[in-house]
Symmetry: C2
Subunit: 333 residues, 2 copies
Amino acid sequence: MTTIREVAKRAGVAPITVSRVLNNSGYFSQESKDRVEAAAAELHYVPNLLARSLRSNRTQTLGLVLSDITNPFWTTVARGVEDAASEQGFTVILCNTDEKERKQAEYLAVLLRKRVDGILLVPARSTPEAVKMIQKQGVQVVVVDRRVPGAEVDVVRGSSTQGAAELVKYLLALGHRQVAILSGPERVSTAQERVNGCQQALAAAQLPAAAMTVLYGEFTVESGDTMARQAVALTPRPTALFAANNFIAIGALKALRELGVRVPEDISVVGFDDLPASLVVDPFLTVAAQPAYQMGQCATELLLQRIIAPEATPYREVVLPTQLIVRQSCRAV
Amino acid sequence: MTTIREVAKRAGVAPITVSRVLNNSGYFSQESKDRVEAAAAELHYVPNLLARSLRSNRTQTLGLVLSDITNPFWTTVARGVEDAASEQGFTVILCNTDEKERKQAEYLAVLLRKRVDGILLVPARSTPEAVKMIQKQGVQVVVVDRRVPGAEVDVVRGSSTQGAAELVKYLLALGHRQVAILSGPERVSTAQERVNGCQQALAAAQLPAAAMTVLYGEFTVESGDTMARQAVALTPRPTALFAANNFIAIGALKALRELGVRVPEDISVVGFDDLPASLVVDPFLTVAAQPAYQMGQCATELLLQRIIAPEATPYREVVLPTQLIVRQSCRAV
DNA sequence: CTGTTAGCGCGTTCAT
DNA sequence: ATGAACGCGCTAACAG
């Protein structure tokens, strides 16, 4: 690894002159410039950003802490993050927590030690400790997808209540009066809010709370499978299922298929989160789609703003609207 | 940000003693240990890995350079990489090249400047320049998914020829004698090899080359759509389509649906790469599935081996077998 | 078992 | 327009 000093020696100048030329900072003559550039090229000089970061306290690196990159929703968010970051010369470290607080804590510790300039956090639990810990270390953080009551922090999320309410309103309009909600973990704000949205729609229609059964589980295919089986075993049997995310929906649809319960003939199904068009030949499920790419992009832009222009801006909460996409998974009763 | 010196002062010891305690290296008394740990905790000390890296020339960071994390195949590879890396205390920087050589070059330059310990590279072009450039800088690299003739480097990839040959053999056994191959960019080794595999199967069955039409495009949904439309317009019209990756397959299936060509009644379709079970309710397409997760995992393990134990091991090429999964997208003619 | 010295590669500060 | 000195935070090498 050649250093700035070796380049300087070869170019017959001082190290600092090399630095000035390469960073185009301060004064230097055209001749210095030519000699330095030639020397750098000949020696295949690659600047050491570690050294620069040690001085500047800037790493041009962000941490992205999410539950599981394998979920197409997070994949899309991640792509939005990466694009927005690289646009501004920042690099992204990817961390999968699988919703485990222990993994989240470990990753956050590493990111802080690596002195990332900022962290995009999808908190495994909707409590403020993690956010406060990051902030205490003087590192910028933006919370993505979830709310964190009690923390003063930028948040970018989808409108879970609105999306859920629209879906249930749609089901009610079709005449459904027994709906089962298959939700995620109660400790996660989106799981709660989607349930709330459902209940609000019910209340708005002046229907009794008994018209709705709420099941809490995990945001996974297995959990969707389990909850769907529980749901169809209820008396009276629900005429519609609400799946609180894409994986739950897929698990539920698989379970229904195995049970011989046809969709939408025997039961209607709606879901939260769409699958990317590139993955589905024939979109079937009626969903509330979140703008995943924009969510990642927007969160990253907020984060970079704070990093680059550290003026004391008030904290913002950006709530992106969901979009109701009606397809063929529901019918009137 | 508190430093090791402040901790030392507070603990009443020298900085190096703090270092020894915190890294559990060298000798120190129980008393030193207790005092240091107490001081570190009180001051919320977070070690600065930049400084450590500057000395040690090790960043505990890998770069993962792939085409597009949005493709579930790459998503799965990435998850395998991330899991294997974090297991050994390494962190992963994600880079999407979109198969663009320019983006690849830029990302590689950044990774080298950040002094990553190793790079997992899915080369946008199957030429050795990029690999050699990385190696010239003394950075370890493993090539993933593709071959790079002319480079001395570890490679982990799926058996494209085998998988393609098995799929075509299967089609031929069903009686198909007109097959269209919808492949990726000719500059990418997997696109070539999947075509080769198809042709080998044809030759093995002693059928004329005319039984097969090869189209080259991109590994995208749009390209799959375009090529499928070209394919069904051929005379004689193919009775079967071979899609060289998952996106091409989906694009082709969408095009066929729009054209009113039924699968498998009017035309049979097979594809390379499976979709994760978590994304598909009712798997339909007959495919050659690659072990994507293992590919990422294995590549990372090879890379970490070289990084951690820099003995001069001979370069290895690991070719992982594909698995033929027969479903409902083909019929006999 | 503990401490001093020195230096990793770079860029800020101040001098020339 | 250029350079010398110094320090970012940490740890190897060497004393003690």
